[in-house]
Subunit: 266 residues, 2 copies
């Protein structure tokens, strides 16, 4: 199995947000994307066209001669489609991109396998700078790990090896730092919308909150009524949220949680 | 009451994070800070020195001839100290900086009053660019409102008028968008720390999550297992958090909450 970065031919199994951004990043770096598979023709075709690849909506038509297959699917789809997609393509390198799926899902199915996990939030509407995205790779052996590091380094300046246990921790931490943080923005937006205040007034605050943790630990960076345990403000806020029980529940739980963590400080 | 921006003399009642950043911003713009009050001499002195002002730890020694008094105190301290600090200084303009305190706390105590509310998170260790900070002002009459807008415009490019009801909404939204979002970073940091992974690997994700909502609404920007309602991932994450009940509770509540909001989409 002799491979070099320059002539690596890639098939994408999946054409969602992550697959789209990743395929485009590979394409721009000169990798050959030979084919894109998606269940829906529209998605397969759209991505295939933007990276000059063929496309298919049928796994039985998946190319058999690519060097690297990147499965970027929802976890449940990955598990169920895996036997079908690998069959007859056992000599290629297979990787998935899922934070929470162990590498061993490939074991016994194929010989060369690994994981290629870019830690970022991808939306179709937004371009991202792949150089800045940490990529965590894992290989079934040293040769594969080294190859994946080389491939990752072609796209990103931040390449790490991480085993499956570390990767699932990273994914869990990312749910907090990204999805849940974004949910807090969403709830804030709703609170303003109800009072016809524009969401934009919060952007400098959101930006500074993110910038701050480049210099201070989030724990040290914390401010606000919960960390001061300003009971007047907290109980007033809970009253304001009386008509919105889900927001009130979030406010109560997180304020208590922030205060409890502070109590544990040395 | 004829005032011009250039000769406005200011007393700061309070020397915490907000008072410190605000006093320095005024000082840099050429306003005269005549005095700083704080309960603790160390804080009073530190801020006073950096803005070439006098200082006191006793409200009875508060200057009587300043034009504008800015009370930047914890809400409970503001309420209890208010009568003492105003007495004998009723001709000056009094403002507070608290998001959740109504303007009317000044009513009946003094003639000229208002609110000067910069919407930002302030930490002593970090410099902030005041030009980018939205400042919400409220005045007891049109003259005071106009004056406060002029003062605010000397510091910030983003000056708005907001009444007390709008301001308390802004403050509540800020708790979600800043304090609670930062708490999500803190929980993520803890999850990584326990596995000896550096927090820095999350910074590109945190930055992109914040940048995204400049272009997309937070609701549209949402990604991750909760919005996809990927039950395998969610239940796996809940298992991973079994040893950390507070984090598990946060994970469960927020995932449910994200999913429920998605269900309400048209």
């Amino acid at each position: 199995m002799k491979r070099s970065i320059e002539d690596t031919s890639i098939v994408f199994v999946g054409a969602g947000n992550l697959a789209t951004h990743l395929a485009k990043a590979f394409y721009r770096k000169g990798f050959r994307i030979v084919q894109v598979y998606s269940r829906t023709e529209e998605s397969a075709k759209a991505l295939a066209q933007s990276v000059e690849a063929g496309y298919t909506t049928s796994l039985s038509d998946l190319a058999t001669d690519a060097q690297m297959y990147i499965a970027a699917l929802k976890d449940s789809a990955l598990a169920s489609l895996l036997p079908v997609m690998v069959a007859g393509r056992e000599q290629a390198l297979w990787v998935h991109t899922a934070g929470s799926m162990p590498m061993d899902i490939w074991k016994g199915r194929t010989h060369h396998y690994g994981v290629f996990y870019p830690l970022q939030t991808f939306s179709k509407q937004r371009e991202v700078d792949f150089r800045e995205i940490p990529v965590f790779v894992e290989g079934c052996n040293d040769e594969v790990a080294a190859f994946l590091k080389e491939v990752a380094a072609a796209l990103s300046g931040k390449v790490y090896e991480a085993d499956s246990a570390q990767r699932e921790r990273l994914h869990l931490a990312a749910v907090f730092a990204c999805n849940f943080a974004n949910h807090m923005y969403d709830l804030a937006a709703r609170l303003l919308e109800d009072n016809r205040l524009p969401f934009e007034v919060l952007l400098p605050l959101i930006d500074e909150t993110a910038r701050k943790v480049h210099e201070l630990s989030p724990h040290l960076a914390q401010t606000g009524p919960a960390v001061r345990y300003d009971e007047n403000v907290i109980s007033h806020h809970l009253q304001m949220l009386a008509g919105e029980p889900p927001l009130q529940e979030v406010y109560r739980l997180l304020s208590r949680n922030i205060h409890e963590l502070r109590q544990q400080d040395p």
